[in-house]
């Protein structure tokens, strides 16, 4: 009886089978299509930004300060996210932490909580007149401000807290699939558990930590909602400010352009330093590492997990529940705003489906086809993620209203915006899965007279089906939460849930905002829940 054969490939990867002319043409068409989707907004931005006079309008020093602030905030938030993700991931996968499966599921929920909602709840808790301050003031009898979440530090705290799942998920997957024999060998050679972690496990985890870290970093760099609520002065808030105070948008365009350049620089730098494959290739072992006994470290570990999950899941949801009011109010708001729910679900679902299919095609081309077309393909797609939502909305309005007015103003342009922004999530996930598949499977199929297209459909897609679903869920969640671009692009009367949350917050209708936030979180967590249950029952 053999071990469960992985689809993984052992040893050095052979060169992928040469694709015929037809597939190369398809690859080039794909690249063209994706470029047409992603590049025009960028080009418009460049055009609007590089105009005489606008450079002078924004002092060079101010630009540098802004850049420094934005980058450092994103970097610190990422480090904070790593600090949260790593210990939790290790505890959940490698030890006998009680309720670790539940913890693993819970740790993903912060992804469903938009960062601006997170910021809201912490302002209510840790703001100058928030719960903690009021409580401490009554306790000590003074009127001092003990904690203040507003500002740079608050921004780092919130952004890291709600992006750590990106790193957590990838590290968990990597820990699941590393070969225990390597760590056991290290133990035999004299290293204690901590030494093994430091010298063996951590280096092996580096690709996933970096991949997740990159996602978190880019999120923090382009986030607007939470930072504007926390009164932090960075690129995105400045762009929004310029858009809403200045008469023309060239200043906003310039700032946007610089921000996009910075993000592109980060992407290019990441690629150069850590290579194209920024994910972990499955090593394909059948053996799973036995969980480590925590012993007397059990309670500290539980406490740590409890704190992390408490801060990122229980506390925010608790605050929202307390602000939400009665069940009756809940029902009323639900009834009143049901149309907006439909809007959110519909657009997010469409975007996720498009992204899944397109991501599969692009990932396959990028991984299997040779030539420069495929290399530029994934790079082009990643650019889409780098464009902040506000900027994207701005550029899409101008482009499509001028050249394709019948398209602009439809829901289609909204779905397009989601697609541009989130296609990269789909593509990277599928690329990772495809790269781990033994190329012999494809060759065997082709020797059985199956064309490359049919190989994709009949062999590769079924094997990566779990990844396809995961990727669908990921894009769905991202699209459901999206605020910045939706604010600008939505046709009149077509609001989505995040837009409603924003409007009610700005108009100080906190109870309604809380109710809608809770419903938004529930609707985004739902696909994830379904996915994990299906996977648990091996139906996927």
């Amino acid at each position: 009886m053999t071990q469960a054969p992985s689809t993984a490939f052992h040893g050095a990867l052979p060169t992928p089978p040469a694709l015929g002319r037809g597939t190369k043409v398809a690859a080039t068409l794909l690249l063209l299509g994706v470029s047409l989707m992603v590049l025009p907004p960028l080009l418009y931005l460049a055009g609007a930004a590089i105009r005489p006079g606008t450079i002078g309008a924004l002092a060079g020093a101010a630009l540098v300060t802004l850049a420094g602030k934005s980058l450092s905030l994103a970097a610190l938030a990422t480090i904070w996210a790593m600090t949260l993700a790593l210990p939790l991931a290790w505890l959940v996968v490698r030890t006998d932490l009680p309720f670790r499966d539940l913890c693993r599921w819970l740790a993903v929920i912060p992804l469903a909580i938009p960062s601006y909602i997170g910021a809201l709840t912490y302002i209510a808790l840790l703001g100058p007149v928030g719960t903690v301050n009021t409580w401490l003031s009554t306790l000590t009898g003074t009127n001092q401000q003990w904690v203040n979440i507003y500002g740079y530090g608050g921004g780092v705290f919130i952004l890291g807290l709600f992006t750590y799942p990106y790193i957590f998920i990838l590290v968990c997957t990597a820990l699941d699939s590393t070969n225990p024999a390597i760590e056991e060998t290290a133990r035999l050679l004299g290293e204690g558990p901590l030494g093994v972690f430091r010298r063996v496990t951590l280096p092996m985890l580096r690709p996933s930590i970096l991949a997740g870290g990159l996602l978190a970093f880019l999120y923090a760099l382009s986030d607007f909602g939470s930072l504007s609520l926390l009164r932090v002065h960075v690129f995105t808030t400045e762009i929004y400010h310029q858009l809403n105070t200045r008469f023309d948008h060239s200043a906003a365009a310039l700032l946007s352009f610089v921000l996009v350049l910075i993000t592109l620089a980060v992407l290019v730098g990441q690629r150069l330093l850590w290579g194209r494959r920024s994910f972990v290739t499955v090593t394909g072992t059948a053996r799973v590492a036995p969980p480590m006994h925590l012993g007397r470290w059990r309670w500290p570990a539980c406490a740590l997990a409890g704190v992390i999950l408490g801060l990122s899941v229980f506390l925010p949801i608790g605050v929202l529940l307390s602000q939400a009011g009665s069940v009756g109010q809940f029902a009323e708001v639900f009834r009143e705003q049901w149309g907006f729910f439909k809007n959110s679900l519909w657009t997010a679902g469409l975007a996720a489906t498009f992204a899944m299919v397109l991501g599969l095609l692009i990932a396959y081309t990028a991984v299997r086809a040779k030539g420069r077309a495929s290399a530029s393909l994934s790079g082009t797609v990643q650019i889409g993620y780098a464009i902040p939502g506000t900027v994207l909305g701005l550029s899409l309005i101008l482009l499509y209203n001028t050249y394709l007015p019948w398209f602009y103003g439809t829901v289609g342009v909204l779905v397009l915006a989601y697609l541009i922004r989130f296609l990269t999530q789909s593509m990277q996930g599928v690329e990772a899965a495809l790269a781990g598949i033994n190329p012999h499977l494809e060759e065997a199929a082709r020797s059985l007279a199956v064309s490359p297209g049919a190989v994709l459909r009949r062999v590769l897609a079924p094997i990566v089906r779990p990844t396809l679903f995961a990727v669908w869920a990921l894009v769905f969640i991202s699209a459901m939460k999206e605020l910045d671009a939706t604010l600008l692009l939505r046709p009149a009367g077509f609001d989505t849930l995040p837009v409603r949350v924003y409007i009610h917050t700005v108009e100080a209708e906190y109870a309604k905002a809380a109710i809608l936030s809770l419903l938004l979180i529930a609707f985004t967590a739902l696909p994830w829940l379904v996915l994990t249950r299906l996977r648990g029952k091996k139906l996927l």
């Binding site: 469960a4 054969p5 040469a18 012999h440 060759e443 082709r446 020797s447 059985l448 007279a449 199956v450």
Partner: protein, 349 residues
């Protein structure tokens, strides 16, 4: 009739300094079994992949069943070549059952098509002895069973030729012999032309009608197994297919003078030429004698035989294979008697 023809095929991988295949010319007759033999990195897998269409040669011509599949810019993709392939790691589709795996390459349109395909699947599974396993998944099978499924899958669409890439190297050694026999039988029954790639000369000899020995991308010898073993064309081939010693000799007086005897100058080398005579252990018989021509300095027990290493006065070593029923201790002085059915002489390099 010639089924597969490679004419002066060269393949160089990108960023490689030397070609993987250099000017290779080979033919395979219909119904024949060719083994491509050589050490790792010699290019044997490359030949297979070139025939299958997974590598594109820089120069040369490949014909399959009289049809030109590769020459210059003309190139037929793998799915149109009608070639079946069995991979070293079997490459079974993990998400399909055995039956679905085997049926994968069959046309299945319409009810009639499906019935026909089902029949072929049953037939092919019967051929490899796996009837009753249709609903199993690959991970539920043993290594040998997986291999049989891989063969059935490749055979089901009745390919022109079956390519096997080191198919037995993943099996336990004791399974190998059995599987070789079984596969041979299957192929005979199916009547399929086959090309096997291996680094194991026992395997090549056991299964093939013709053997091509490759070394660093070049064809060293293309012959039937007996000729390869008994009359290797180069020292490399000689060494690769079995244990061989090279006895120094000199052409003198129309014969070749060596330390242990005189041999016929069968190749007509000029007088005074220094040559090497290939001696296999099974050609050398030893008898303890005192004083002897050589001394035993080593012994390896091989189950049915002992291989003795002997030191000649000149310092050369010779090996002799004797049945293991008798054991000569190390240090024994022996007489040598060389009985060679073929005399293979190489000029001294």
């Amino acid at each position: 009739m010639t089924l597969i023809e490679l004419a002066r095929v060269s393949v160089t991988y990108p960023n490689a300094a030397t070609p993987a295949l250099h000017d290779l010319t080979l033919t395979v007759e219909e119904g024949a079994f060719l083994a491509i033999l050589g050490p790792s990195g010699c290019g044997k897998t490359t030949v297979l992949r070139a025939i299958a269409g997974f590598e594109r040669p820089q120069s040369g011509r490949i014909l399959i069943d009289g049809r030109l599949v590769c020459e210059g810019s003309h190139w037929v993709p793998p799915e149109e070549r009608g070639v079946g392939m069995v991979f070293q790691d079997y490459a079974l589709f993990p998400h399909l059952t055995v039956a679905q795996n085997v049926a994968f390459g069959l046309r299945r349109s319409g009810r009639k098509g499906r019935e026909e395909a089902d029949r072929t699947v049953a037939e092919t599974l019967g051929l490899v002895g796996l009837n009753g396993m249709e609903a199993r998944y690959p991970h539920e099978l043993s290594g040998g069973q997986q291999q049989r499924v891989a063969i059935a899958r490749a055979l089901a669409p009745k390919p022109i030729v079956l390519l096997l890439d080191e198919p037995f190297s993943n099996l336990d050694p004791d399974m190998r012999g059995q599987m070789r026999e079984e596969v041979q039988e299957i192929l005979l029954r199916a009547g399929t032309t086959a090309i096997l790639v291996t680094h194991d000369h026992d395997e090549a000899f056991a299964m093939a009608d013709r053997v091509a020995v490759l070394n660093h991308g070049r064809l060293e010898q293309f012959d039937n197994p007996e000729s390869i073993y008994h009359t290797p064309s180069t020292p490399f081939v000689a060494n690769f297919v079995g244990q061989a010693d090279f006895l120094l000799g000199r052409v003198d007086d129309g014969k070749i003078q060596t330390e242990v005897g005189i041999f016929e100058n069968v190749d007509g080398h000029p007088p005074g030429k220094a040559v090497e005579i290939m001696i296999r252990p099974d050609d050398v018989h030893i008898m303890p004698a005192s004083p002897g021509a050589a001394q035993i300095v080593g012994r390896q027990f091989r189950g049915s035989e002992n291989i003795y290493t002997m030191l000649l006065p000149s310092g050369q070593h010779l090996h002799s294979s004797e049945p293991s029923t008798t054991v000569y201790p190390i240090g024994t002085s022996v007489e040598l008697k060389i009985v060679a059915t073929h005399i293979v002489i190489f000029p001294k390099q």
